[in-house]
């Protein structure tokens, strides 16, 4: 009976196999970047692939939640890391709070996001980046940006642009509006869509999550009472409770509910329910403020380009809205500091509409792009996140800043520039026993050669000498070592150099020396 063949098992959608040639190139890239990070005094850290989901829900925000590989395993809610910063900060809070600051860390590894599979977007992807914990100010931020840029330079990438922004500008504006926090984070995460697809696209998305806005946009002339029937009730009610002291208002509501025979028992505290009801009654309709925010965001989104010019325009805009310009001042200083790193200033532009997807940023943010038009891809992103340590339960607020590269995209950017990386030779020699009887001696020879640092493979299948030569040629193995009974008895080997075809009988140590010299010559020739 023949062995039953079953259907093959498919690769999971959105993830990739990295085959040896690709792997070798990836490692070379990684090593170059490691050297760059280390030259700035950064040290490697590794963090777990799985974390409690809570780690990402607490601050990273509404945008990342749907893309988490989030699962319950044995009653624990876990997820695969969608990025590194949260884990690194958690590791800091766990282990490194006593260490003298600033702490310079770098990481490399896979992250997972449940994305719609599409070109250059994978569900498992690789990031490499740094976190600088415990330093504030332009010097720190400039160091981060400079490292990001220098890493790219060391890889030989040139046609990239650094786009610099500041999340503080827009978040100050939203703070002043006192928007409900869900709407606030919606607006922050939709900056990019606002710019790309226009205001109406954002408004449409907004209507989905905030139905009252639908009526408002369809007819801006309507008063808030007309757009949101609830406001009519709440206005009447809020007038009713206006003159009352907080405690009186609460008692009144409790009495009212009691008289209506509504019991406030259950999982929530009666006091909490009444408190929130009062807050809700007093809360104003948000649609107009949301609309104002969208307007301001559109204006901010226009502020893109050469730094000095943009800063000047931004100053005017912020002034007209009465927002302080601390953010702009920080950007100015960062740009000034970057000059000392000899960064090509034409590679830097400002974009005050930049917001990044994740919500933990608090100050400077930046992205690096490569290519133009359809070929444009973001290869790096980062920024300052001063609240994250506190959010994760750190003993004290600790400023921090960092960035990460998207390794797959970085690789594609390099390829687009025609930077072809050499796959290093994988094997130096192939040892071939002529007959079964020579196998033992052949293994000994191979072991000897390996000990002096050569990469040596054995013929395992007992193939003919000629087919072994073919194999060596196809695999690009520069030397073949033949071992027959004659060589075995004389403790010799036959060394064949594949490119010249030159063949000679030598002692094992002479063969080793010969290969060594030959390889050195080949490397020098390249």
């Amino acid at each position: 009976m023949t062995k039953m063949r079953t259907t093959k098992i498919e690769r999971v959608r959105g993830v990739n196999d990295v085959l040896p040639d690709d792997y070798a190139i990836t490692k070379q890239l990684e090593n170059t970047l490691r050297q760059c990070f280390q030259s700035f005094g950064y040290r490697p850290i590794d963090v777990p692939l799985i974390e409690y989901t809570e780690l990402y829900l607490r601050k990273s925000g509404e945008e990342i939640a749907p893309r988490l590989y989030d699962f319950i395993y044995r009653n624990r809610r876990l997820c695969l890391r969608p990025e590194f910063t949260a884990s690194v900060v958690r590791a800091y809070v766990d282990n490194l709070q006593g260490v003298p600051q600033p702490i310079r860390l770098y990481y490399a590894g896979s992250a997972f996001r449940y994305e719609r599979p599409q070109k250059e977007r994978y569900r498992q992807f690789n990031q490499m980046g740094i976190e600088l914990i415990g330093a504030t100010g332009a010097m720190a931020d400039a160091e981060i940006i400079a490292i990001a840029s220098q890493g790219l330079n060391r890889l030989g990438l040139s046609g990239y642009r650094i786009v610099l922004g500041h999340i503080g500008v827009i978040s100050k504006f939203l703070d002043n509006l006192q928007l409900e926090s869900r709407l606030r984070s919606f607006l922050l995460t939709n900056m990019e869509i606002l710019r790309k697809d226009g205001k109406s696209a954002v408004e449409q998305r907004l209507c989905d999550i905030y139905p009252a806005f639908a009526l408002y946009t369809s007819n801006p002339q309507l008063s808030p009472e007309q757009t949101n029937p609830e406001t009519v009730h709440s206005q009447r009610l809020s007038q009713l409770f206006q003159g009352m002291a907080e405690s009186d208002a609460q008692t009144t509501i409790l009495d009212l509910l009691d008289s209506m025979n509504i019991e406030l028992a259950g999982n929530r505290d009666a006091q909490e329910i009444v408190d929130r009801l009062l807050t809700k009654i007093k809360r104003q309709d948000q649609t107009e403020r949301v609309s104002k925010a969208l307007e301001f965001m559109s204006q901010l989104g226009q502020l893109v380009g050469e730094p000095t010019e943009v800063l000047k325009e931004a100053q005017t805009l912020l002034c007209s809205h009465g927002i302080d310009d601390a953010g702009l001042e920080q950007l100015r200083e960062i740009i000034k500091t970057l000059e000392f790193y000899n960064l090509d200033s034409s590679q830097i532009s400002l974009d005050l509409g930049l917001s990044r997807g994740l919500q933990y940023y608090t100050g400077m943010i930046f992205e690096i792009y490569h290519g133009a038009g359809k070929q444009e891809r973001q290869i790096c992103g980062g920024g300052r996140y001063d609240d994250l340590v506190g959010t994760f339960g750190g003993r004290q607020d600790t400023p921090a800043t960092g960035f990460s590269y998207g390794m797959e995209r970085l690789r594609l950017a390099l390829e687009a520039e025609g930077k072809v990386w050499q796959v290093q030779r994988q094997m130096d020699a192939l040892v071939v026993p002529v007959s079964q009887d020579d196998a033992g001696y052949a293994i000994g020879v191979a072991q000897q050669l390996r000990q002096i640092g050569l990469a040596v493979a054995m013929d395992l299948r007992g193939k003919s000498v000629s087919s072994n030569f073919q194999y060596a040629n196809k695999q690009g193995i520069p030397y073949t070592i033949l071992v027959g009974s004659e060589e075995r008895q004389a403790s010799n080997v036959v060394l064949k150099q594949m490119d010249s075809g030159e063949q000679q009988q030598l002692t094992v140590s002479d063969a080793a020396k010969h290969i060594h010299d030959g390889l050195k010559r080949m490397t020098n020739d390249q």
Partner: protein
């Protein structure tokens, strides 16, 4: 189309159709199929296999409605009828199931969010969003009990509500909040009675899904086998035509007139409402009456809700002796659902 080259080697594999084995869904499915001329034969209530005598190529399997999706997904049956809610819930991440007809017209229910009545401060989805943040500030997590974790999670995520945890509960869902192992629920309701009895209320904008019974199939199995596709088409056509027919009535009236043209012209040109003179227009035939020669039989098919208007219109045209019948099937020039289904089938899985 079907492979009719060599009937000797062409052994048609039967189409396996899974139907709900009990409850309201079983009864409604059975009556829909018999109304469509596909009466199901089930030897006894406890039998798990049955057949459809008018379509002998079909083997019927009776399954729990909740299991039917899985059966179709894994390919142990080709087709199945189950709730759309189940398909949406279980279907997340499964590209192997195709919805062939999503509105079979029964088993209607809604998946809704419901909170305790005592939460007087929560009346809308915005309130709920705020509440999750309030819970988060207090270091708690809003717990939602549900049998629909995928639908609930994805829907709330889309509304940018992320701070909650799902509690999986089997049965007696509505009791979860009062028992204390969840704060609120996401569950299906058709009348809302159970919710009210358990002192729960729906919130504005909190409908996650409207569901009814639907016909689903295994994409790969149907793609690979033209004969199965053919049988699917037959089932779909009959169901579609039958469901379509429910919208219409057929009216036949005797109308007095000089000629067929005169009657026809009057009917077509004097109707105030569109649709009064049938799907395309009246069919008119001469009535051979002994005493009076000027009678014509007029047949029109109109929508149910236009019945009286159409009757009055015919009266004005001189009509009498009107008989109304309900058609069993209304077929169009081609099956719309079948075209949609074919497109879905082609979509890359």
């Amino acid at each position: 189309m079907t492979n009719d080259k060599s009937p000797m080697t062409n052994h048609q594999s039967p189409v396996r159709l899974a139907l709900p084995s009990k409850g309201a869904l079983e009864r409604s499915t059975s009556s829909l199929l018999s109304a469509c001329g596909m009466s199901v034969f089930r030897p006894s209530d406890r039998q798990y296999f049955g057949s459809i005598p008018s379509l002998p190529q079909i083997n019927v399997l009776f399954q729990r409605a909740a299991d039917i999706f899985t059966k179709v997904e894994e390919g142990s049956v080709d087709l199945g009828i189950t709730g759309y809610d189940v398909v949406c819930e279980e279907g997340v991440g499964h590209d192997n199931v195709v919805v062939i007809h999503d509105r079979l017209g029964y088993g209607k229910c809604e998946l809704v969010l419901a909170v305790p009545e005592s939460w007087v401060d929560v009346s809308s989805i915005e309130d709920l969003a705020e509440l999750t943040l309030l819970f988060k500030e207090k270091g708690k997590n809003l717990r939602i009990a549900t049998k629909y974790p995928n639908l609930t999670r994805d829907w709330l995520y889309e509304k940018l509500i992320v701070n909650f945890s799902l509690v999986s509960v089997q049965g007696a869902m509505e009791a979860a909040p009062s028992m204390g192992y969840a704060d609120m629920i996401a569950d299906v309701t058709s009348t809302g009675t159970t919710l009210r009895e358990n002192r729960l209320k729906r919130i504005t904008g909190g409908t996650l899904l409207k569901s009814q019974a639907c016909l689903i199939g295994n994409k790969r199995l149907l793609q690979d086998d033209p004969t199965k596709l053919d049988t699917t088409k037959t089932i779909l056509e009959l169901i579609e035509a039958n469901l379509n027919a429910k919208k219409y009535v057929s009216i036949t009236a005797n109308v007095r007139g000089k000629s067929a043209d005169e009657v026809g012209n009057y009917l077509v040109n004097h109707s105030e409402l569109s649709g009064l003179t049938g799907l395309r227009g009246p069919t008119i035939a001469k009535v051979y009456s002994k005493e009076d020669k000027d009678w014509y039989a007029v047949t029109i098919v109109v929508e149910q809700n236009m019945l009286l208007a159409a009757v009055n219109h015919l009266r004005k045209a001189g009509g009498s002796d009107m008989t109304i019948t309900s058609p069993d099937y209304v077929f169009g020039s081609q099956s719309q659902n079948y075209q949609v289904f074919l497109e879905r089938l082609k979509e890359d899985s």
